[in-house]
């Protein structure tokens, strides 16, 4: 990396230019990013701590929190296993159609969340492909928890795979081959060589995957049916309260989600700083 030019070795005119750029960027980030974040907490506590706590203690709020945790607890591990399998196949073997597979893994990132929910309604909804069969057998997917889980899996599918693929590509397979030659079986090789090599990248991918899974709104809103206490996750509960003009209640739940976002950013920044060579850092993925 080239040395950073400090203001000291610059002419006064240039130093002014530097200052202008720094001030512009900082003011923009402050107004554009910090202010919305701050307003979440200010609005949540607008009527005091007591009102805040009361609105979080209502049964539908607690149900929404439980449901959000449940959906993430199913979706994230499934995408974790998929991510490892996809990255293993993509980085350790040569086969035809690899580029197409990579594009397919990235596909959910370029599909509107609303469409991600819509596709499952078309599969499992009342007028969908499997709708009549499901109805006849008394299985509910749309307007029920399985639909929320499916839509969340779709939205967060690329996160772990995208984090692992570049890293495992860069690491190469020599250590794993050596383990095999020395007599390790497949599991021993995976647990003692592969997993330790990718653990921080794995955690990084899971972190981003989880943040998105818990915060997803568009996709789950399409499949949820907004049944209070049963199919409303935290973001959906935010929407319902907001539309009912319960602003303190909406921002109270939003404040929990904002805390989750801050925690995610803190852990992410820590991982990038501490283990920068063991993760594919700053992968501009993940939205």
């Amino acid at each position: 990396m080239s040395a950073v030019r400090t203001s000291r070795d610059a002419s006064p005119g240039r130093r002014l230019g530097h200052a202008v750029i720094i001030v512009l960027a900082s003011v923009f980030l402050g107004v554009f990013l910090l202010l919305p974040l701050a307003s979440v907490f200010v609005e949540a506590f607008r009527q005091g701590v007591h009102a805040y706590l009361v609105s979080l203690h209502q049964p539908e709020a607690l149900a929404a929190i439980r449901l959000t945790l449940l959906v993430a607890a199913i979706a994230v591990p499934l995408n974790l296993v998929f991510g490892i399998a996809a990255a293993w196949a993509m980085t350790r073997f040569e086969f035809r159609g690899k580029a197409a597979l990579g594009a397919l893994i990235d596909l959910p990132f370029s599909v509107s969340p609303v469409i991600s929910g819509l596709v499952y309604v078309l599969l499992f909804g009342a007028q969908g492909w499997f709708g009549p069969w499901l109805a006849a057998h008394g299985v509910k997917i749309i307007f029920a928890v399985p639909g929320l889980v499916l839509a969340t899996i779709f939205i967060t599918l690329p996160f772990v795979a995208r984090e692992l693929i570049p890293l495992m590509q860069a690491q190469g397979s020599e250590e794993e081959e050596a383990a095999r030659v020395l007599g390790a079986n497949g599991w021993q090789m995976f647990l003692r060589v592969t997993l330790p090599n990718i653990r921080w990248a794995l955690l990084y991918g899971v972190l981003l995957c989880n943040a998105r899974a818990m915060g997803e709104f568009g996709a789950v809103s399409v499949v949820s049916g907004h049944i209070r206490g049963l199919t409303t996750t935290m973001p959906l509960e935010v929407e319902m309260r907001y539309n009912e003009y319960d602003y303190v209640g909406a921002f109270a739940i939003a404040s929990l989600l904002a805390l989750l976002a801050l925690l995610t950013l803190a852990v992410k920044t820590f991982l990038e700083w501490r283990y920068s060579d063991e993760i594919a850092a700053h992968a501009p993925g993940g939205h």
Partner: protein, 274 residues
């Protein structure tokens, strides 16, 4: 061919393909199948509806404009973060990803609270005649917000690795600061800026959660295409919802393809210039 030393090819690829098939391909096939139900005639009728056209125009026009704004703002911010050392720089750097981490519904209500007529910013801009909340400008603002990290994050590593000697050589040959930037640095950055532009665009086109609160969703004025899909679903017009979904996906893929072509050009151009 050398015998494979590493195990698990069949099971890992098989599992990945089955998973992708069930989670991604099968549902998208259902979308295509349902959309084809309305036929070409139905598609034309859908696209003739002024309300649909206005929504598509807002979604794609807004997303293009938002991505363009993000290129300029992103360049400024990435430049400040990579080139200069100043107090608070690391904190600001960590904050860049906030729009990724903050759930969209939270961003949506927070932006609305800020820019509503009685909000912290709204009470200043509304008297000036600038209406952000419940207007197309609010849609644009939310789209800039959700796409913001892409340009910064794609630019940062490239700016970091940009050889300082190229600039110094240009300056020692008598180029002014502005000439160096416009003729030497910018051409090298164009492919990366296009990547960031494409990512921000793809994100903004389909964005729903952060937009619908601040948009006010006035038909023909501030209603985005994903919201129309939701409305069609609520009216149990599955075929119409699916068709609009396919139209949106087709438009986005054409746009992304065009950007990929532009990128190939600009890369060749940058290599020739270097």
């Amino acid at each position: 061919m050398r015998k494979r030393v590493l195990p698990g090819f069949g099971i890992s690829l098989g599992y990945a393909l089955a998973y992708l098939g069930l989670i991604v391909l099968l549902p998208l096939a259902a979308l295509a199948w349902k959309a084809s139900g309305i036929g070409l005639h139905g598609l034309f009728r859908l696209l003739e509806s002024p309300r649909t056209l206005a929504a598509l125009k807002l979604s794609f026009g807004g997303a293009l404009l938002a991505a363009l704004l993000n290129v300029f703002i992103g360049l400024l911010v990435a430049w400040a973060l990579v080139r200069y050392r100043f107090p608070g720089r690391r904190l600001l750097d960590a904050l860049i990803d906030l729009p990724f981490a903050l759930p969209t519904a939270v961003a949506g209500i927070a932006l609305t609270a800020l820019y509503a007529p009685n909000g912290w910013l709204g009470r200043w801009v509304v008297p000036m005649g600038i209406q952000v909340a419940y207007a197309p400008l609010g849609v644009l603002l939310a789209m800039v917000f959700v796409g913001f990290p892409f340009v910064v994050r794609t630019l940062q590593p490239v700016l970091q690795s940009l050889e300082r000697d190229v600039e110094e050589a240009a300056e020692s040959l008598g180029a002014t600061r502005r000439q160096t930037f416009l003729r030497v640095i910018l051409p090298l950055l164009v492919p990366t800026l296009l990547t960031g532009f494409a990512l921000a665009l793809a994100r903004a086109v389909g964005e729903y959660g952060s937009v619908i609160f601040i948009a006010g969703n006035i038909p023909m004025r501030s209603e985005i295409a994903p919201l129309l899909i939701v409305q069609k679903l609520e009216e149990f017009n599955y075929a119409g919802a699916a068709a609009l979904g396919v139209v949106m996906l087709a438009f986005s893929f054409i746009l992304l393809l065009l950007i990929a072509v532009l990128q190939r050009w600009s890369r060749r151009w940058a290599e020739r210039a270097a």
